[in-house]
Subunit: 154 residues, 2 copies
DNA sequence: ATGAGTGCAAAGGCTTTGCATTAGG
DNA sequence: CCTAATGCAAAGCCTTTGCACTCAT
């Protein structure tokens, strides 16, 4: 067993298989449109907005993108990410990418992934669990963002 | 000087004065509508949605609420909070409330304030600053949420 | 064949904006 | 008085939904 470590990300090559399985579990097909979306997200290594996804999944209707992302979210392979941005962003779930956080640029709205040490994650979770319990709140997970100005916007 | 400690919150009684000053700095008046909004936010001790604000600032038009919140945000006394919720929430800036985080209920969307120890905040900032620098990102601050299920929804 | 998936266009819902009116200094 | 602030209603913008068509099983 991997001790207190978070579960490891799925290897890139196995993502498609993993997604197909998860979709199958809720009676959904792994169609071309969904395959394109997952590929775009897997390649990006950061949360993508709908326009960005549509750029890479040429031929996919905007409404289908929204619908498919909802299906993928229900299947547990995609997560809707909230930023200061006007529009929603999506990324593969941490089952596939591993636990990480985001750096959000307050100027251009871009978002990149970052990871911090397990020891700090662990301490943080312990501290949050403590205050959550005190409030009768059942913690599922935490969300941590670095807000600032990206390299390009400085 | 208060060492590494984050700046202290402004006493409740002084909030109005502080807000008036900040508004004055950008050439804005502290009108009745704005006073009502600030009072509602100060009393709530948690981020409020526009509907919640309008409930307490009776007589204020929705459009005025949006406009005033934008003005207050520009004055640096109000912050727009991002949650999983469909609608925006607003709270007084940390200048007034002190540094804190949020517990977001994934069922009903409610949000409550939480605070964790300065030592962990400090460690966290150090770790985030490190990864940010490595990416050429200029960190302004961090944002941390506990996501889970609130007392009421369990 | 037969229902899921897709595209297109229209509808929704929160937020923003235009314009005439009101009020604070 | 004179400009900022407000209310009301219309417009915007991202997102969702309806409906007919297509594709895979």
């Amino acid at each position: 067993m991997a001790s207190h470590q978070h579960s490891d990300p799925v290897a890139a090559a196995d993502i498609a298989h993993h997604v197909a399985t998860k979709l199958g579990e809720i009676g959904q097909r792994f169609t071309t449109g969904r395959r394109d979306i997952v590929s775009a997200l897997a390649a990006a290594q950061r949360p993508l907005s709908i326009p960005e996804i549509l750029d890479q999944a040429k031929g996919l209707a905007q409404s289908s993108a929204y619908r498919n992302l909802t299906v993928l979210e229900n299947a547990g392979v995609v997560v809707r990410v909230i930023t200061t941005d006007e529009w929603a962003r999506y990324e593969l779930s941490e089952d596939l990418t591993g636990h990480h956080h985001h750096m959000v640029c307050s100027v251009c709205g871009s978002v990149d992934d970052v990871r911090i040490s397990d020891s700090i994650e662990h301490e943080l979770d312990a501290a949050l669990e403590k205050v959550a319990q005190k409030a009768g709140f059942k913690m599922a997970h935490h969300r941590l963002d670095v807000v600032g100005v990206c390299k390009t916007c400085q």
